[in-house]
Amino acid sequence: MIRMEVVLISGRTAKQGASLEVGKTSEEYFENVAVIMMNEDDMKEIGVQEGEPVKISTEFGSTVVKCKKSEVNRGIAFMPYGPWVNMVIGMDTHGTGMPSYKGAKAEISATDENVLTVGEIVDLIRRG
């Protein structure tokens, strides 16, 4: 299996903003937030099609979301703010209070694991 190194950026999207007002446990929120936007050539390289699950791993953890085609440069991947990206963000704030939500090094690969629901992520947090 090919594991590719990318720089991971997280940020607001309008759909993420609109669907969180519907509810964090809603289908809309899951569809719009449990995703990663990738360059088409990067998707080919790791062997995934649009809508298929990919695993993102950093030194802090891993997460599984569906991939989407995007205009980002090769080597960069973008995820909307939310619980899925938070699974791979480190706690160190370098004395500022701010974790490194943008620009983290991550590895991406194809996977047959399922995308966790918000409820399953909450269970994971409660189990610690």
Binding site: G90, M91, P99, V122, I125
Partner: protein, 424 residues
């Protein structure tokens, strides 16, 4: 009934021109707002919180009085409670939360610590040349967006304030303005740019520093993948405009360098005022995160990350910021109000919230309320109750009430908890 000039309580733009139609106590239509505003008003009654207490590991419905009693008991008996959130509520609630933090000797932090906290640190170090969005609408002929994406995050910013709006000296709107977007990727905002400067992730500090050097006439060469000619072109446009503004977002505060990136950007704009009029404004996310900073400054002298354990306020981002307090497992109770840290903090930091007694005060169910010990529902600010909020340029705006609430406001709940803590 049609309510006019309603203010949208979602993002820092605080658009104050919405029309909201209410029939039989329900919002049935909105006009002029963006898709997020529409979603906020139309879905305000969905997924609402109810008063609950955790018993035998299950959240059980209780009376709001019972929930507030338990909240007061938790805060009274805690050695180091954390009060966090506050950016999606109004200023009087923020003031009450500060009073409560002082009363219980806890730490109080707002969501600025994970958005523009580094900006606040830099403003204290460097100073800031800023202006209102009204001045930008009327005067700005050069508008730069750096590490921010209003096309997705502040959807009517272009239209009302910065790019398409027509003003006193910008009567042709878009035609009167040059727009530069600096980002690591194409996005909804880059499509509108005259110049799109695509930069490598984590290279902001180097490029801003190169621009500062170019503005002062130094040779810089290619920097972090950006050609020498492009740096000179952008520097020249900055120096030769009549009124420039640099809007920046979390692309600067969250990337490598954090507050150092902002130090560089604030210094760049200060330098530019030797040649022309230039201002720099931060793109604030939640509708009253600016107010959360303002209120905490009035009350304590500091904008976020404040601790009262010695009886007087101490300020130290990195020590009293919520992510750090949770990561180090330093707090033994938490009150989360008008924010949802479980959906915004690194997962490992959230784990501590599930281990300690956590009180959630929020109009809606949230991820954090799923791990809470106490859930207290409140009226939705700007929809079901009034209050003051600060726009991203720190202009205070009065929020409206368009429907009747089922539950008391954040301020009323906090004041009640303060009384209960004092009585205990």
């Amino acid at each position: 009934m049609i309510h006019e000039h309603v203010v949208c309580p979602f993002c820092g733009c605080l658009c104050d021109d919405l029309e909201v139609t209410v029939e039989d106590g329900k919002v049935v239509n909105t006009k002029r707002g963006c898709i997020i505003a529409k979603s906020k008003f139309m879905n305000h009654d969905r997924d609402r919180a109810k008063p609950m207490l955790r018993k035998d590991d299950e959240l059980i419905g209780v009376s709001i009085e019972e929930a507030m009693d338990r909240a007061a008991e938790i805060l009274r008996s805690a050695d180091h409670p954390l009060i966090y959130g506050l950016s999606s509520t109004e200023c009087d609630a923020q003031r009450a939360a500060t009073e409560l933090a002082e009363l219980v000797g806890g730490t109080i932090d707002n969501t600025a610590s994970v958005c523009h906290g580094p900006t606040l640190v830099s403003v204290q170090a460097v100073g800031v040349v800023k202006c209102t969005l009204g001045e930008i609408k009327n005067r700005a002929d050069l508008v730069i967006f750096w590490g921010c994406n209003p096309g997705e995050a502040h959807l009517r910013h272009f239209l009302r304030y910065s790019v398409l709006s027509k003003g006193l000296f910008t009567q042709e709107g878009r035609k009167d303005r040059t727009v530069i977007v600096v980002d690591v990727r194409e996005n909804a905002s880059t499509k509108l740019a005259d110049i799109f400067l695509k930069i490598r992730p984590n290279s902001d500090f180097e490029i801003i520093s190169a621009l500062r050097a170019a503005i002062k006439g130094h040779e810089v060469g290619d920097v972090a993948g950006v050609a020498d000619g492009t740096i000179k072109e952008v520097a020249e446009k900055m120096k030769s405009c009549k009124f420039g503004v640099l809007f920046f977002g979390l692309g600067l505060t969250m990337s490598k360098g954090k507050h150092m990136n902002i130090d560089a950007a604030l210094s760049l704009v200060r330098d530019l005022n030797d040649y022309t009029k230039f201002a720099i404004n931060s793109m604030r996310g939640h509708f009253n995160v600016a107010g959360a900073n303002e209120v905490l400054i009035w009350q304590t002298g500091y904008p976020y990350s404040v601790n009262f354990s010695r009886g007087y306020p101490r300020y130290n981002p990195g020590e009293f910021s919520a992510v750090d307090v949770l990561s180090r497992k330093e707090c033994d109770a938490a009150l989360i109000i008008a924010a949802d840290p479980l959906s915004s903090f690194p997962l490992r930091a959230s784990e501590h919230l599930a281990k300690i007694p956590t009180i959630v005060i929020d109009p809606k169910n949230s991820m954090t309320s799923l791990v809470a010990e106490v859930v207290i529902p409140t009226a939705m600010v700007g929809v079901e109750c009034e209050g003051t909020a600060y726009r991203m340029d720190c202009i205070p705006i009065r929020l409206r009430k368009v429907v009747e609430p089922e539950f008391p406001s954040d301020k009323e709940v906090l004041e009640e908890i303060i009384e209960k803590v004092k009585a205990g």
